[in-house]
């Protein structure tokens, strides 16, 4: 299906999260991404959609994979890139986010892709600048393009997600990936269970529309897919679980435990993978793992997001969408 056949018409200039997206909007992004994905294997990979436009990658928190994926996506659409990295604390860098953003706009950037440690900063930025703002991760709040690429990957393998069961395993409390996925996947009809230690999986997650389990076997039972989150012991201040070893013992995924899933269930991970911690090393490379597919799909989804938001802001040229 090409985007022109999608019934929904895209209106958003900003992509700030998945929480406020309608299911039709999510399908619209995924359908557009599917079209773009086909172009990734061409020998000539560049599309002219954003030619002459400047995409500013404002990454105020360390990130390699998301930043690179946005760079590749922008390059494929022929945009010029402006990359700014730094620390997000306004005190440390001596310039406020408002001033930084206004400077980027004054440099005549056409869109801003923002990664920031502070939840809500993309919303804040979208109220300051007149150009589209794409959230590339804001603290523990949202990481919409990650959830969209996850949904894209699941949809490619499972088709319609209605009634499918997806387990998200790990640090939910501090995870923007978990939040964005809970909202995106439940909107697509999937049933989401969040699984992990009680200190990292608050019972209030039910208010977000997910089921909560602190028992791995129960959480994985009959799941069509399991999504692992990166466990960062340093970030959790060593007070949320005693050691990586104990985490792995209780919640690490291995071949035996993956048999608790539905046969053929998918294993996803947003990366970077801690081999031997949240997942057994061989399992990460084995057949049900779609971790590298997620990376490729991430380019297509980010192309779709850049393209759609640019279109809504009347930046993209309409003539050159791939068939």
């Amino acid at each position: 299906m090409s985007p022109s056949e999608t019934a929904h018409s895209w209106q958003r200039r900003h992509l700030l999260g998945t929480e406020d997206l309608a299911p039709a909007e999510i399908h619209h992004i995924l359908d557009t991404a599917a079209s773009f994905k086909k172009t990734l294997d061409r020998t000539q990979k560049k599309l002219p959609s954003l030619r002459g436009k400047v995409v500013a990658n404002l990454f105020l928190e360390p990130s390699t994979r998301t930043r690179i994926a946005f760079e590749v996506a922008a390059n494929r659409l022929s945009a010029d890139l402006l990359t700014l990295t730094g620390t997000s604390s306004s005190l440390e860098k001596g310039e406020s986010l408002r001033d930084t953003a206004c400077n980027i706009e004054a440099l005549r950037a056409d869109m801003i892709v923002l990664r920031h440690s502070a939840p809500g900063s993309p919303l804040y930025l979208s109220r300051i600048v007149d150009i589209p703002v794409i959230n590339a991760g804001d603290g523990a709040h949202e990481h919409p393009t990650q959830a969209l690429l996850d949904a894209f990957t699941l949809r490619e393998h499972l088709g319609d997600l209605t009634g499918r069961k997806v387990a998200i395993l790990g640090d939910i409390l501090f995870s923007r990936v978990a939040r964005s996925n809970i909202w995106a996947l439940t909107k697509l009809g999937a049933k989401v269970t969040v699984v992990g230690p009680s200190t990292l999986v608050p019972s209030t997650c039910t208010a977000l529309g997910a089921e909560v389990s602190h028992d791995l076997r129960e959480g994985l039972a009959d799941a069509d897919a399991v999504m692992l989150l990166r466990i960062q012991h340093e970030r959790q201040a060593r007070t949320h679980f005693p050691s990586l070893g104990e985490y792995t013992q209780l919640f690490g995924l291995n071949a035996e435990r993956s048999s608790w899933l539905k046969p053929g269930a998918l294993i996803l991970h947003p990366g970077p993978v801690n081999r031997g911690v949240e997942i057994d090393s061989e399992l990460a490379d084995s057949h049900p793992s779609v971790i590298l597919e997620q990376v490729t799909n991430g380019i297509a989804v980010r192309m779709a997001v850049l393209y759609l938001c640019a279109s809504a802001a009347r930046l993209a040229s309409n003539a050159d969408l791939p068939a």
């Binding site: 408002r98 440690s117 939840p119 523990a140």
Partner: protein
């Protein structure tokens, strides 16, 4: 200062909870003092027609931050007292978390001197509990008391060491000084910016569990009981805190508490758009907590309202929520917010709402004022309880604009404010001729 005046307020609804007064009658001010009800009006006394308006004691706020000395770009005694006057307040109590902190008699005197020179309402101040508010060593509470401190507090910071807090309570009692405590167990609030609950989870913001307040409330109730010292719990925000306090007060423990207008009016849902003007300490909590505070005020468990007026400039608040300072201004919105929530929504009588903003806070700290007693200095406010107005930036007299009601319409407003019989505020304008203000 101009000479204290005489005037007759004619036809207003006079509410003076301390005397059980709530009636339409004239109020005579003679030479700056409230005249007894049957005093003949001297010929030539100017008459102010106040029909349809309330005539009430000047409001009393036992919790303000005027940022002087050290952070006068946010507020100072001149701008702060003008905001107070515009809100109907005639008496305020400053918190000592200035820069440097008010932990010695010299700093305390300098604040009172500034108030004398630049203030347009009556200003009291508090001293610190601990040196430099570091929570480690006793501040010279005796010297602070002698210099005029009306209470001691490390407001903004909470003494974490229970042993030290016990000594503070025991020591302060010797001077009859109430200990005002900002109840926060900081081990539970590291990095936290809002109430922990569904909203914090949804917004990805670090949550502040209500237990952080409740644990210290429980500690303070026990220490007040053991030491006999009066411990006052500042800006209560949690339902369980109210329960604990109710039980302790029933047993006669010398503990009191205040609630802010914002905690009784708003919930953590106000953070939904990451608005830094809804970020304060303690944070806005979920609806059951808000309700419990209202009920605490209704049954007297919570003694009074206090604003925790905490000015920060626009550019300081105009940042990512995580980085914004805690606190909002409150002096100019307290009365309409209290009227809206307590009177119109919750059915408190007007005298009861006035009581919570006048006599109760004054009595709590043993301050004069808060009543229209015959012979007392005429500290009063004339209030139009039904006037609607928009909290525009130009309407505010504070140097800062950090209020969640900015741009919103409120109902009820002080029309005029008099201190010692002298009009200091009338219809949006400050009238005081205090040269340095």
């Amino acid at each position: 200062m101009s000479a204290a005046a005489s005037f007759l307020l004619r036809g207003g609804r006079v509410i003076d909870p301390a005397h059980g007064t709530d009636e339409e009658r004239d109020l005579l001010v003679l030479d700056g003092r409230i005249a007894p009800a049957d005093t003949p009006v001297p010929a030539g006394t100017p008459v102010e027609e106040v029909g349809g308006l309330l005539v009430i004691p000047g409001l009393v706020d036992i919790h303000v931050h005027f940022r002087e000395p050290g952070q006068t770009h946010k507020e100072d005694v001149a701008s702060g007292t003008r905001a107070a006057a515009a809100g109907g307040f005639t008496r305020v109590v400053c918190m000592p978390n200035t820069s440097p902190p008010c932990d010695n008699a010299g700093t305390l005197r300098s604040i009172l001197d500034a108030a004398e020179r630049k203030g347009v309402v009556r200003v009291h101040t508090t001293g610190c509990l601990t040196r430099a508010m570091e929570g480690a060593e006793l501040a010279p509470i005796g010297s602070l008391a002698r210099a005029g401190a009306v209470a001691v507090t490390d407001d903004g910071l909470c003494v974490q060491n229970n042993g030290l807090m016990r000594q503070i309570a025991t020591y302060a009692r010797m001077f009859g000084l109430p200990v005002l405590d900002h109840c926060q167990d900081t081990s539970l609030t590291e990095g936290a910016v809002m109430h922990e609950g569904e909203w914090s989870l949804r917004l990805g913001l670090r949550g502040w569990p209500s237990a952080a307040e409740e644990i210290i409330v429980a500690r303070n109730l026990l220490l007040a009981e053991h030491t006999g010292a009066h411990i006052h719990l500042q800006h209560l925000s949690s339902a369980r805190s109210v329960d604990l306090l109710r039980e302790a007060r029933a047993r006669g423990v010398p503990v009191t508490a205040e609630a802010t207008p914002h905690h009784i009016a708003l919930t953590d849902a106000a953070l939904a758009g990451y608005d830094p003007s809804a970020k304060m300490n303690p944070p806005l909590a979920a609806e059951p907590h808000r309700r419990a505070l209202v009920e605490g005020l209704r049954d007297g468990t919570i003694s009074c309202l206090a604003t925790d007026h905490a000015p920060h400039r626009e550019y300081e608040k105009d940042v990512e929520l995580d980085f914004a300072p805690f606190g909002i201004i409150g002096l100019e919105t307290a009365l309409p917010v209290a009227l809206e929530v307590l009177h119109r929504q919750e059915g408190f009588s007007l005298p009861r709402v006035v009581d919570l903003l006048t006599r109760r806070p004054a009595e709590l700290l043993g301050l004069p004022g808060g009543t229209l007693a015959p012979g007392a200095p005429a500290d009063l406010a004339v209030v139009d309880p039904d006037r609607t107005w928009t909290v525009g930036p130009g309407e505010l007299h504070s140097r800062s604009r950090n209020t969640p009601w900015l741009g919103k319409e409120l109902r009820g407003r002080a029309v005029a404010t008099a201190v010692g019989g002298r009009w200091v505020y009338r219809e949006g304008r400050i009238l005081a001729d205090n040269a340095e203000g």
